[in-house]
Structure formats: structure tokens, C-alpha cells
């Protein structure tokens, strides 16, 4: 087991390099560069000044050389400075990461808390009216684009009803609040972004849970459990659920990347000061070091999530032992 964890952790390194190479190339292939956004449209800036600027940023070298230099710095955990404000990228990300983690962990929590009971109840009452209505709602949720859903939520709950704030995480007046009030305010502000973030994966996961449960309920050992005279409660929640949850653990590894990439859009819409919005802003500004920093951190978090899912799987399923 320890062997497996070490091996898997080491595997993260080549995957990080591969993913960052692809991102690096795509980011640099996009038309325009940092000099064009600030000086390209200004007739008073000469071509030679732009060339000098490019040289300063190292943008005149071939892409692969630039990538090599970048990789060399990253290897020493130096993420470089932002092109926009010259602050270290690592500081910028460190400021933003907690907000993203808060949003996504809250969403993950909501997804699992809701999806598992929905999946179980739909499977136990398969093809009933409840199951059919649930199926329609979930497919609608699955098909809804999250940016559109976010705007609907903002319009209805934020604007029409005025129940929830529509933007931001920590308003300026939060420093006048007591600790308890400030937590309450934060939770209040989490509702709409978390609802948006959860929607897609919630629909996804509860369908998985339903089919996993249906599959398990057909198994021979369920019939054995019934033949033993166990109550239906024990049959469903002890014998079936434990087996049905196994695949659901690994599906977390599919949800995590979806959540993190969703953050780019959702954080921007809700003015959430997280890493996703930082990434979005850095892309719009050709701020390569920041973009790459955000991608690296997000990739690392995703790979870490996958590793945790695999380890959890070995813990919950007695048949699986990684050698």
C-alpha cells in the first residue's frame, strides 16, 4: 500500500509536466501577446520599445526554449512574477486559493449529501412516479448550462426576491461584524455559487448512484440477505448500500476536475475572489506566468484528488489491495 502511494505520487510529476507543456503551448499560440494589450494600440509606442519589452519578458525566444526556462524555475518552486503587477504569482495564488477551495469543498459536500439519498430512493422505487419525476428534473439539471443557470439564480433569488447577495465573498463592512455574524454572512454568500457549481455534478452523481444501486439490488447476495429474514432496511442500507457506494467513491475523481474548471466561469460571474477568476483574468491579459501557475495548482489538486480517491477505494473495498 505504501509502495503504491509512493509510486502514484511520483507519477504526478510527469503528468504535471505533460499537462503544463500543452497549456504553455496553447497559451502562447493564442493570437496577441502581453505587449499588444498594453501598447499595441498606442501609436506613441514604437516597435523598438515593444521589441525591448518582449526581450525583457523572454518572449522573443522559441516557445520550447521558453517552456524549458519556465520548467527550470518551476522545478525550484519559483512561479515567477505576474506580467500585470509584477507581484510573485505564488502570492497571488495563495491569496485566491482558499476562496476556491471553500467554494468547491462546499459544493462537493452538497453534491454527495444530496446525490446519494436521491440515487438510493430512485433505485429502491425504480420506475415509480417519484423516480420518473426525479429523472426529468435531473436530466434538465444536467442539460442546463451553468452560466445561464447562474444568471437565472441571480435574477430570481438575488434581484427579484432579494434573498441572497448576487456578488462577492467578503464585503468591506465585514470587519464590523462579530465572528458569528461574519460566518453567517459568508454562508449566505455561498448559497448561489454553490448551487450553480453543484448542479451539473449533482445530476451526474445521483444518476450514477441510482444505476449502481439498481445493479447491486439485482445481485445474488441481496437475495441471500432477504432469504435470511433481514428487514428491508438492513437489506438496502447495510447489504446494498455498502456495495453501491464503492464506484461512487471513484467518481469523485471525475467530479473534482469538473468543479475546478467550472470555477473559471462561476467565480467570474459571482465575483468570487478565487483562483478560477484569477486564471480567467490572467488569460484575458496574456499574463502567462499567472495562467501557468493557476493551471499547475489546479492540475496538482486534481491529481491529488484522484490519488485520494484510489486510496479510499482500497480502504472501503476489502477485495482491492494495491501491491
Amino acid at each position: 500500500m505504501l509502495n503504491f502511494i509512493i509510486r502514484r505520487t511520483l507519477l504526478i510529476v510527469p503528468m504535471l509536466i505533460g499537462i503544463s507543456l500543452i497549456t504553455f503551448v496553447i497559451a502562447h499560440l493564442a493570437p496577441g501577446d502581453p505587449t499588444s494589450i498594453r501598447y499595441g494600440l498606442n501609436p506613441e509606442v514604437s516597435q523598438s520599445a515593444r521589441a525591448k519589452l518582449k526581450e525583457m519578458y523572454g518572449l522573443d525566444k522559441p516557445i520550447i526554449v521558453q517552456f524549458g526556462l519556465w520548467l527550470k524555475r518551476i522545478a525550484m518552486l519559483d512561479f515567477g512574477n505576474s506580467f500585470i503587477d509584477d507581484r510573485p504569482v505564488i502570492h497571488k495564488i495563495a491569496e485566491r486559493l482558499p476562496a476556491t477551495l471553500l467554494l468547491n469543498i462546499a459544493a462537493l459536500f452538497v453534491i454527495y449529501i444530496l446525490a446519494i439519498p436521491i440515487g438510493i430512493s430512485s433505485a429502491v422505487k425504480a420506475n415509480s412516479k417519484y423516480d420518473r419525476v426525479m429523472t426529468i428534473i435531473l436530466f434538465a439539471g444536467y442539460a442546463t448550462p451553468s452560466f445561464w443557470f447562474a444568471l437565472l439564480l441571480i435574477w430570481f433569488f438575488g434581484f427579484n426576491l432579494g434573498w441572497f447577495p448576487i456578488s462577492g465573498m467578503r464585503p468591506w463592512y465585514v470587519e464590523y461584524f462579530t465572528f458569528f455574524e461574519s460566518i453567517k454572512d459568508l454562508l449566505w454568500r455561498l448559497v448561489l455559487p454553490v448551487a450553480t457549481t453543484s448542479l451539473l455534478s449533482l445530476a451526474n452523481l445521483s444518476r450514477y448512484m441510482r444505476s449502481s444501486m439498481l445493479e447491486v439490488l439485482r445481485q445474488d447476495y441481496i437475495r441471500t440477505a432477504r432469504a435470511k429474514g433481514l428487514s428491508e432496511y438492513l437489506v438496502v442500507y447495510k447489504h446494498a448500500l455498502k456495495n453501491a457506494l464503492l464506484p461512487i467513491v471513484t467518481i469523485a475523481s471525475m467530479i473534482l476536475p469538473a468543479l475546478l474548471s467550472g470555477s473559471f466561469i462561476i467565480e467570474t460571474i459571482f465575483g468570487w475572489p478565487g483562483m478560477g477568476r484569477l486564471g480567467y483574468e490572467s488569460i484575458m491579459n496574456y499574463d502567462y506566468p499567472t495562467t501557468m501557475g493557476v493551471v499547475i495548482i489546479a492540475t496538482f489538486l486534481t491529481l491529488l484528488g484522484l490519488l485520494i480517491a484510489d486510496i479510499t477505494y482500497a480502504i472501503v473495498d476489502p477485495r482491492i489491495r494495491y501491491e
Binding site: Y221, R223, A225, R226, A227, G229, P318, R319
Partner: protein, 267 residues
């Protein structure tokens, strides 16, 4: 009075392609301490008959007619909660596939004790004691360690022993054995059969033994019912079936058996 009486049982499957009459008017009875062999080819309705007794037939199957009496009381009108009292306590089942019939994520001990605790008011400690006793009775070696083991760590024969321990730990009046040895290899088959016969004699249990293997029937049954396409074509004492078969189908079945010289037979 017979222990179990099945009268004109009809279990149909209502599928999209029409009604499948899996069991169509089956009647038999089992006396206390008696072993009834239910023989027939695959798909003849043996297993559905067994599952109907405990009302375990899955959708789209349904018991549409007849009656099932345990010690004179009908099981069909029982509420689900009353039925669970009978399942596993008065009537136990050993299924065909020991590989899939045990829950892979629960320990052997857990699966035996939960059955005891579902039917008896007992502390976990007492239930565990009783489970270990049952495991010893079916001669599971090293039962203290196996108690905490998961099914995938046991061989097929050991799993079937664990299933039998589970089925017998509450001393049921009737044991339904649905092809309990079919999935095992021949030497293990003989051991498991001997074990079943031994425990049955010791506790004077009744057994409904389902199989397609006439050799096994000859060894253990008192009475035999031959099933085909959901109906019983012949039912008689075991000697009569073998030496004086009436129905053509029974004769065909007997002719299909591979003959083994007398001195090479088991048991």
C-alpha cells in the same frame, strides 16, 4: 400433518413478450424429517418454486395462484414483516452459487451473526459465540480467524460451508437447498453432501433438495418430484423413481445419466 404443503402453486412472469408460466400448478408436501428431491432440467421451474415458498420471486414474477402452508398456516397472506420472521428462522435457503451469494464487503462473521441477531434477542457477544459454533459444526477450520475474513479469501467449498452455517445456525424446520453443490468440484461436492445429510439427521430437519443430478437424489432423497416446464410430471418414492419410473420424461432422464460402476460411487 406435513411440515410444508404446496398446493397448486402458480408463479407467472409477466414480461413484455407475454406471460411465462414458470411454475404452473405444482403440488407437493414434505413431512418432518423428510427429504424431498425436486429434479428437472434447467428452466423447468425448480428454483422459482423454491423462491415462491419464501415469496422471494423478483419482478416481473408473481405468485398468481395456489397456496403454501407451513405447519398448516398459509404463508401467502402474510405481511412482509411477518414473513421476515419465517425466512431464515423456520425456513432457510442454501443457494447455488457460493461465489455470489455472500456479500463481498461484509465479513463472514458479520453475515452469520446478523442473521442470528435478526431473529433472536441476543447480545453481539452471544450471537458471535453461536455463529462460531455453527462454523465449527460445518467444519470450517480456523473459524476464529475466518470469522473476520471476507468471502473472497475463502475457497468455493469453504464459502458453501459458510452459507450452510448461516442457513443452519437457527435450526430451521425446513432447509431449501437449491443446487448447493452444482458450482463445486466433485470431491468437494461429496463432502458438502455428506455434511448436509449429517446435520439433517442430527437435528431431524426437513430438506427440499433441488438438483438436476439424479445421482445425488438417489443418495439423499426419500421422495422425488420430477419437474418439467413448470409442472410436476411424476412424484414418487425414490426407489420407485429409479426402478419403476412411470412418466416417459423420467425414463428419458434416467437414460441420460452417465452410468458409473457400483464400486466407484460416492457415499
Amino acid at each position: 400433518m406435513s411440515l410444508l404443503e404446496v398446493k397448486d402453486l402458480k408463479t407467472y412472469f409477466f414480461t413484455d413478450k407475454g406471460v411465462q408460466k414458470a411454475v404452473d400448478g405444482v403440488s407437493f408436501s414434505i413431512d418432518p424429517g423428510e427429504t424431498l428431491g425436486l429434479v428437472g432440467e434447467s428452466g423447468s421451474g425448480k428454483t422459482v418454486t423454491a423462491l415462491s415458498i419464501l415469496n422471494l420471486v423478483d419482478e416481473p414474477g408473481k405468485i398468481v395462484g395456489g397456496d403454501i402452508l407451513l405447519e398448516g398456516k398459509s404463508l401467502l397472506p402474510l405481511k412482509a414483516s411477518d414473513l421476515t420472521q419465517i425466512r431464515g428462522r423456520d425456513i432457510s435457503v442454501v443457494f447455488q452459487e457460493p461465489l455470489t451469494a455472500l456479500n463481498p464487503v461484509l465479513t463472514i462473521g458479520n453475515q452469520i451473526t446478523e442473521q442470528i441477531m435478526a431473529h433472536m434477542k441476543m447480545s453481539y457477544r452471544d450471537a458471535k459465540e453461536r455463529a462460531l459454533l455453527a462454523m465449527k459444526e460445518v467444519r470450517l477450520k480456523d473459524s476464529d480467524r475466518l470469522f473476520y475474513d471476507y468471502p473472497h479469501r475463502l475457497s468455493g467449498g469453504m464459502r458453501q460451508r459458510a452459507m450452510i452455517a448461516m442457513a443452519l445456525c437457527l435450526r430451521p424446520k425446513l432447509l431449501i437447498a437449491d443446487e448447493p453443490t452444482t458450482a463445486l468440484d466433485v470431491t468437494i461436492q461429496a463432502e458438502i453432501l455428506r455434511l448436509l445429510v449429517e446435520i439433517k439427521e442430527r437435528h431431524n430437519m426437513s430438506v427440499l433438495f433441488i438438483t438436476h443430478d439424479l445421482g445425488i437424489i438417489a443418495n439423499i432423497a426419500d421422495k422425488v418430484c420430477v419437474m418439467r416446464s413448470g409442472k410436476i410430471v411424476e412424484s414418487a418414492k425414490v426407489e420407485d423413481i429409479f426402478y419403476n419410473p412411470k412418466a416417459d420424461y423420467t425414463k428419458q432422464l434416467l437414460e441420460a445419466v452417465v452410468k458409473i460402476p457400483e464400486d466407484m460411487r460416492i457415499a
